[in-house]
């Protein structure tokens, strides 16, 4: 699902402030509260035509969606159950950004670099999905390596990776933890097949940094 921020009411070129952010994703928030958003939905916030943004806006939109997604994997009773319509709700939702350039790119980088949750920024999109992306924010080297493997190989399980990288001496449990961490960070999807989880990438290609060599 691509949400073109510039065309969403109230239309603006300045995506700033928590209140505006809440309005821009009001329909999504309602669908999440009502439980009508399809599991595994990837929401791409498209900043095309947006000249500026700020931390409050990103916190009320992208971070809010990512945290709802995280809670679907790692529930935290302390964070849910409030009557406030803006409180977090567990939901298997993913979030990425697109058309993030100039001043907006700087704000996005400043916002995500200071917190333990990175975000994908689509470089190339097709059919509401991301073909190629950059990653903004911090990701542990071990998780970064695992993410690259999943992006290149497609659907995998922890035991697949254990078999493929046997010489590295990483146990199935360790692979499983890494994959679950990436899923909790909303960087890969997962589906249960029988007794095991199968993990899939959100994008086939991830470029680190600003991708100046691509």
């Amino acid at each position: 699902m691509i949400l073109k921020i510039g065309n969403t009411e109230p239309c603006t070129t300045k995506a700033v402030g928590a209140t505006l952010g809440e309005k821009h994703i009001a329909a999504l928030r309602k669908a999440i509260a009502d439980g009508t958003l399809a599991d595994g939905t990837l929401v791409i916030l498209d900043f095309e035509g947006i000249e500026t943004t700020n931390g409050s806006y990103l916190r009320a939109t992208a971070l809010w969606l990512l945290r709802c997604g995280q809670l679907s994997i790692r529930p935290d009773d302390m964070l849910v159950g409030s009557n406030d319509p803006n409180s977090l709700r567990p939901c298997d939702v993913y979030c990425a950004l697109a058309n993030v350039e100039g001043e907006v790119a700087q704000e996005v980088e400043d916002f995500f670099i200071s917190r333990p949750i990175p975000i994908l920024i689509g470089r190339k999109l097709a059919d509401d999905q991301i073909v190629s992306a950059t990653l903004t924010g911090n990701l542990e080297p071990v998780l970064k390596k695992t993410l690259s493997i999943v992006s290149q190989s497609g659907a995998v399980s922890a035991s697949d990776l254990h078999t493929r990288f046997k010489t590295e001496g990483i146990s199935v449990t360790a692979w499983n933890n890494r994959l679950a961490d990436l899923c909790a960070l909303r960087l890969i999807r997962r589906q249960r097949q029988g007794k095991q989880w199968i993990y899939e990438p959100l994008t086939k290609e991830i470029v680190y940094g600003r991708g100046i060599y691509k």
Partner: protein, 270 residues
Amino acid sequence: MRLTHRETDEIRQLVESREIRPLESLQVTEVDLYAAIELACCQFLKRENHKILFPCVTQWAFRVPMLQSAIETIHRGNVPLRINPFRPRPWEFFPITTASWNDNDYHLFESRFTAAVRQAGFGRKSTALAGAFFEMADNITQHSGPSSVNPARGILGYQVESEQMTFGVGDVGRGVLASLTENPAWKHIEESADALEAIVKDHASRRLGLGPGQGFLQVFKSLADMNGQLIFRSGDGLLTIAGQPDRRQASKGSAVFFPGFQLSVSCSVK
């Protein structure tokens, strides 16, 4: 007499102790932006004590155009049609009456503020200051009421002189203590001054699970390398921050109770 946040605290004390005569004898000739906003906020209050203050403030406003303008803005609840809507002004006010205040009138108000600040010598910093001003205004919508759909009434204002600017925001909502302690992580805070310190210095937020609040981060970012004075007052708490960027001094104290949250941010080019 010029009224600042110090004098308004004393005025609140006189109101609380119902000392009408000293209030009536005050010869107010000037107010700073913070005082104008706080005195305008009094107009929202229905408490018996504040009825004492209404006639005095109205009287002072006859002699002080900025106070008159703030009170008119509060009473009118909308921005009057203006000739030359893009022309920067030395000071003006804007009312917040609903959650949808961020409309075309506000955009014009913001562009006049930005132009006035730029002309005062702040150059490109004017855009960052406008962003910080907006964030403080949006805080009224976000936090003054139990939900962002029903914010308390409020007022925004700015004053610009050569190489100096002040913006201020005031509301008569529930105040920062009630708002912040909705978050269990800050439930232990019992004093308004501590709540002010937590939101301003530690970027505490009532929103659960979303990390630090962004509004005050943006304010300090916009002030980056400038001297500044920041005044925050809520409930019976007061927090002032002043000085050069790397040596800003914070001072926390108590004040005579007044509802809501009022603040002003002043800075100079040099």
